[in-house]
């Protein structure tokens, strides 16, 4: 059950949802990050950093250019609370490779500070398929304990993936949500400017053998069965 020695702050024990997935202890944080206390791993998916830059470049529409700091601020808080040794960014960390190359100095520095002293894994996604000129290791997938981490779900079991930006609606409130069953776990999008895919859409549902559990993000991670 709860491992008070794992370095979780009191607040996180209160608001995270702890569960066992394919033999690995997991904590779904209300921010949308996944913590593996036994492995000191923190995983986040679909940051889409540089989205506003990419939209301006491609369409001329200039969204508030603050999504990178908003996302890094959230990530910094989760890192401080969970003190992981390894961080996995599970793909689509950047809205495209050019956006990654164009991050401004201040954000690069901030990212470097977050990376300092940690093993940082960039898992590639469909938006950021190539290597990026930032610290950390670039991988197509990675195994941690019993689990494998990749961006888009495959037929494999014991798999953690992202890509779909799942959301779920309970009591009239729709929120980004983790979805999981015995075989796979799909992470919500962590980035500030990300939309969502409703948990009931066929594209998402067909990935699960039976109705999954949704873990709602928000003030507190709350599990709820998907009908």
């Amino acid at each position: 059950m709860l491992d008070l020695a794992s370095g979780l702050s009191q607040a996180d024990i209160m608001t995270a949802y702890h569960f066992s997935f394919c033999g690995t202890q997991c904590a779904a944080l209300p921010s949308g990050a996944l913590h593996l206390p036994d492995h000191d791993v923190l995983c986040v998916s679909d940051l889409h950093l540089g989205k506003s830059e990419r939209i301006a470049r491609r369409s001329g529409v200039m969204l508030p250019p603050y999504e990178v700091r908003e996302t890094l601020e959230k990530l910094q808080a989760d890192i401080a609370a969970t003190r992981p040794t390894q961080i996995i960014c599970l793909g689509d960390s950047f809205d495209d490779l050019e956006a990654a190359a164009r991050l401004d100095e201040e954000m690069l520095l901030w990212l470097a500070q977050l990376q300092a002293g940690k093993t940082w894994i960039w898992v590639e996604g469909n938006h950021d398929p190539g290597p990026i000129n930032l610290g950390g290791t670039h991988r197509s997938e990675i195994k941690i304990g019993t689990l494998s981490f990749r961006h888009i779900a495959t037929a494999m079991t014991a798999e953690v993936s992202g890509h779909y930006h799942p959301k779920h609606r309970v009591a009239g409130r729709s929120r980004p949500a983790f979805l999981y069953d015995d075989c796979r776990l799909i992470m919500p999008a962590y980035g500030a400017y990300t939309g969502g895919l409703v948990s009931l859409t066929p594209a998402l549902r067909q990935l699960f053998m039976r109705p999954p559990i949704a873990i709602m993000t928000g003030h507190k991670a709350i599990p709820v069965p998907v009908p």
Partner: protein, 801 residues
């Protein structure tokens, strides 16, 4: 040009007409730079507007566009085209007349730009689009007159501001341009006239004979109006009787959903198979056109409609107007009544049908106001800056521009006459760079200043996207509805409504019950059902706030000892309220508290209009949240706010304490749903959010993220950003309407009556079926969500996997 030429005199004679005095006056003053005619419907208003153009064009000398006619409705443009054909054909005038709206074909639009007709009939949006083309100077060269029809309706909204900005552009392209406005009766003609004229030109106002007072009364039915609800189902038999007694009846509703439900019920009761149609803005164009055609041909005995039929379309021989639901605003009621009986100098006939007991009171108050010629209206603020931002982008689409010249041009628009250079530069900077404190877009600016000082689009291809998003009409995201396996759309529903549907649900659209099947590429697929009781269509239509004047009349009525002017059932209801609780008074705030269905409720009667009462709900629930009273949600009507929560409120005074409210207001402004909604509107108009994208959305996947996120981000990192300043100012006037809360606080000066009861009171009853409930996203909501999730987990037997 004061006399009618012989050709026209003869034509009037063959028709058996004489020229109306106001038509003569319009002709005499046709050379004035700005002219506004105020006339009731049926007074030959349109002909009065067009007569000078027809005369000027009669000799066939003018080349190109001579007169531009702008109306708020596409249907109106089509209607006018039909009506103008008569004089042009009968006098054999060498005049080409065409319309240009969102419905005009691509080929015809291309041709119109190359070879414009003499008279072009259009809408403000289509006109704005025309001014965005590089060949605008060619199109508008030689333009002599612009006729703005139903200017009173346009002047109330941002569409009017956009139109007047477009006019300033046209005036530069065609300096001899004369402006003509046609208006229904309004409370402040001078205000509209000063918006029409080029500032500081004067505007001559011509008043036509207003005609006799309308014959207007409340429909008396055998059946009593229900305590609650907006359907007016009880009145169906009586309404059918009236339809039978008259030639053609228009049946107006305040919302589209109400119109749908009423139409459905009307058909179920229509055993004589009277031809009755439905017309509202959510219906597919084909369906609307079919109804319009049938109406003009005289094939329909009645038409159930909303504001989309509100304007001066000539629907032939309408001899009765029925208004279902309280009219909310006396001016609009008078204008609607004007729809009936287009014979000049015959009184229009209208019936009011209250949907519930409270509306009986509202209807009687409105009737008294009509008799007293007491029109209502609030003065408009200065020209909105989001519309200005869009205008700058439109200007950039047409080609490089000089900022100084553009600023001077904009200052000739009445609504923008006080615009400071700094405010203009703010808008220009927003269009060029996004206007962020963090200057992030140096490389990807939308507008660039060239070496010669002119401004232009960085990427000319951006013009296409800007053009696709022209317009200021605030529509919620809607999805098309169509029958499975059929391409013809039935109409549209709001995205939020579609999201609540699960396969098998039934709802009403276009008067038929359909079953929701699935969502396919952002289209709602349905099948036909013979069911009689659908799940209600909740697409909303516009909800209007009761005017201050009408609210005051109602409060004065409550002060009476008895109500001989009200039907017995309503008088009894008010007496019951007085017996069990209290009736609200003009100089006090009444607060009732009672339990209902396991929740604690308080009902605050402030009579400040729907928008202000909604704001009151926001502020009161925020204070309740701070007091740990776990508010869950609220609903507001024109007269009251009903709040429910997990804990009882023992003392409402702190919730309504003026200093608390003003302080809370500032905090609250930064993070609430109404602000987000207002922001969405302003940001869409200003070009920060695109409504339409070059490729239609394929699926909901990652496609759009909520504008709420943009709002939250800006509020956090860039609180002084132009869009937030616009949002704040607008919300104060419009959806937030804090002005009327201040008015209520002054009027009641802290005098609060708290009545504690053990059950729902007569006067609060209607609140319980009111739509538009707003959930409070606070600790109470989290508690419910957690409880609900735990219950579902337990039920599913999957506490852990």
């Amino acid at each position: 040009m004061s006399d009618l030429p012989p050709l026209f005199t003869d034509w009037f004679k063959t028709r058996g007409w004489t020229i109306h005095p106001h038509q003569q006056h319009m002709l005499e003053q046709a050379t004035e730079p700005a002219l506004m005619l105020i006339a009731p419907t049926g007074g030959g208003k349109t002909l009065a507007g067009f007569l000078p153009s027809l005369i000027e064009l009669a000799d066939g000398q003018h080349k190109g566009l001579h007169t531009l006619y702008v109306s708020p409705l596409k249907a109106l443009a089509a209607d006018i085209k039909r009506n103008l054909r008569t004089p042009v054909t009968e006098m054999d005038l060498p005049i080409r007349i065409e319309d240009r709206t969102g419905d005009t074909t691509y080929t015809q639009k291309r041709r119109q730009r190359a070879d414009p007709p003499h008279i072009l009939l259009t809408t403000p949006e289509s006109l704005a689009l025309l001014t965005s083309y590089e060949d605008a100077p060619h199109i508008f060269k030689g333009l002599q007159r612009i006729i703005v029809d139903e200017i009173h309706a346009l002047a109330e909204s941002k569409r009017g501001d956009q139109l007047m900005l477009a006019l300033s552009r046209l005036q530069t392209l065609a300096p001899g341009l004369r402006r003509v406005g046609l208006s229904a009766t309004v409370e402040d003609p001078d205000a509209i006239a000063s918006e029409l004229a080029r500032h500081p030109d004067p505007c001559t106002i011509i008043n036509a004979d207003p005609g006799p007072d309308p014959d207007i009364s409340m429909l008396v039915t055998q059946e009593k109006p229900p305590w609650t609800g907006g359907g007016a189902k009880y009145a169906i038999p009586a309404v059918l009787e009236e339809v039978k007694k008259h030639k053609t009846t228009l049946i107006f509703h305040n919302t589209r959903a109400q119109a749908e439900i009423f139409f459905h019920n009307l058909w179920l009761a229509n055993t004589d198979d009277l031809p009755i149609g439905i017309h509202h803005g959510s219906l597919a164009r084909e369906q609307r056109e079919k109804v319009e055609g049938a109406m003009v041909a005289g094939d329909l005995r009645a038409i159930v409609c909303t504001g989309s039929l509100d304007l001066g379309i000539d629907w032939g021989d309408v001899d009765l107007v029925i208004q279902v639901g309280a009219p909310k605003n006396v001016k609009r009621l008078v204008q609607r009544i004007g729809r009936a009986n287009h014979r000049y100098n015959a009184p229009s006939k209208a019936l009011l049908v209250p949907a519930n007991r409270f509306e009986v009171v509202e209807c009687v108050a409105a009737l008294e106001a009509v008799k007293a010629h007491d029109l209502d209206g609030d003065p408009k603020g200065p020209g909105p800056r989001d519309v200005l931002c869009q205008h700058i982008l439109i200007t950039a689409c047409a080609g490089p521009f000089d900022a100084d010249a553009l600023y001077q041009e904009i200052k000739t628009v009445g609504a923008y006459r006080t615009l400071s250079r700094a405010a203009f530069d703010d808008c220009l900077d927003f269009c060029a760079t996004g206007g962020y404190a963090l200057r992030a877009y140096d490389k990807w600016k939308r507008l660039l200043q060239r070496a010669d000082g002119l401004w232009q689009l960085r990427d000319p291809r951006a013009a296409q996207r800007i053009r696709m998003n022209i317009g200021t009409i605030q529509d919620t995201d809607t999805l098309k509805v169509r029958l499975k396996g059929n391409f013809k759309p039935l109409g549209e529903v709001e995205e939020a409504f579609a999201a609540t549907l699960t396969p098998g649900d039934t709802f009403l659209i276009g008067g038929q019950v359909v079953r929701y099947e699935n969502l396919k590429e952002m289209t709602v697929e349905v099948s036909r059902r013979a069911d009689k009781t659908p799940k209600i269509a909740t697409f909303m239509g516009t909800k209007f706030a009761n005017s201050t004047q009408l609210s005051q009349r109602i409060l004065r009525m409550f002060a009476q000892t008895n109500w001989p002017e009200l039907p017995a059932h309503t008088a009894e209801w008010l007496a019951l309220q007085r017996q069990f609780s209290k009736l609200p008074e003009a100089d006090r705030i009444l607060v009732e508290s009672f339990p209902h269905e396991g929740r604690h409720h308080i009902c605050i009667y402030g009579f400040a209009g729907r928008n202000a009462m909604q704001t009151l709900g926001m502020l009161a629930t925020q204070r309740m949240e701070e007091l740990n009273l776990h508010p869950l949600g609220f609903v507001a009507t024109d007269y009251a706010t009903l709040i429910w929560g997990l804990d009882p409120v023992y003392d409402p005074a702190p919730l309504l304490q003026p200093d608390n409210m003003r302080a809370d207001f500032e905090t609250w402004l930064s993070g609430n749903a109404v602000m987000k909604k207002t922001f969405r509107g302003a940001a869409t108009i200003a070009g920060l959010i695109e409504r339409n994208l070059p490729q239609a959305r394929k699926s909901g996947r990652q496609a759009t993220f909520s504008s709420d996120i943009l709002y939250d981000t800006l509020a956090k990192y860039d609180p002084d950003h132009l869009m937030l300043r616009i949002t704040r100012e607008e919300a104060m006037r419009g959806l937030v309407d804090f002005g009327r809360i201040e008015e209520m606080l002054t009027r009641t000066a802290g005098r609060i009556d708290h009545v504690k009861l053990d059950r729902v009171t007569p006067l609060s009853l209607p609140m319980f079926l009111e739509q538009g409930r707003i959930a409070v996203a606070g600790a109470g909501q989290d508690r419910i969500l957690e409880e609900e999730a735990a219950r579902l987990m337990q039920e599913a037997g999957v506490a852990t996997l």
